[in-house]
Symmetry: C2
Subunit: 144 residues, 2 copies
């Protein structure tokens, strides 16, 4: 199932009032942390995956750094090479994945927090497996 097919939730994080403080934190990142905990609870209760579009939220670069540091780094790092590279890194909270998509020039085009047992993009699709199997069968028949 492509990423587009799983529910992407944009969180109303309640934009901070007034100018951003000197450290660049808007105050929205801790709100998001609560939202993530709710998503993880839902994953455990129902198995439902979800993704939070970080670029659709009023988060400063400092917020993103704080969030990434607070969620920590897990054991699993995944790279997916397509038209542009994607990285799907487990955070220190299992089931919460920090997903970054780049374009062919290496620029970040989107950032998600995916809450799932496994990121959707990592799963092999039956249609692709079938095509690969046909290729494998051709290889094998060429060997005999």
């Amino acid at each position: 199932m492509p990423l587009e097919n799983i529910p992407i939730v944009t969180v109303s994080a309640g934009a901070a009032v007034g100018p951003a403080p000197l450290d660049g934190l808007s105050g929205n990142a801790p709100v998001l942390l609560r939202e993530i905990a709710e998503h993880v609870n839902r994953l455990l209760a129902t198995g439902e995956s979800s993704a939070i579009d970080l670029n659709a939220l009023p988060l400063t670069p400092a917020d993103l750094d704080w969030l990434q540091e607070t969620l920590g780094t897990g054991e699993i790092a995944i790279t997916l090479e397509s038209d542009g590279d994607s990285t799907l890194n487990e955070t220190a909270c299992p089931g919460v994945w920090w997903v970054t998509h780049h374009n062919e020039h290496g620029a970040v085009v989107s950032r998600f927090l995916e809450v799932a047992f496994v990121p959707e993009l990592v799963k092999a699709h039956p249609e692709d497996i079938k095509i690969g199997l046909e290729h494998l069968d051709l290889l094998i028949s060429g060997l005999s």
Copy 2:
């Protein structure tokens, strides 16, 4: 589910008779290719994952090179950092993953071909997710 819990099949590859040819190929790798195709067929038909223990087979280093080259390289590369690193790389045949486990000194301790939609080791376990959620809840309560 840990890797140990999925069926690991050791293939009777029919050891080649006589001395190995100069190129170091034993003749067993093409047999294995047929076995892999059967596993992929089973995955598509029943959803059943499996793993082939490459170190338990009479394969020469040249066989392993031939096999790796023949299966090709897919889009997804996964690293798992634990006591020793593991790499779980998609081959050009989707659903067939080349899995290598290293010890803490970086030496290869086991090699598998895993046939699955997703390698088992990549999936977050509910028990680990629960522990991570407790940690997240503690973090959140410390913020308020």
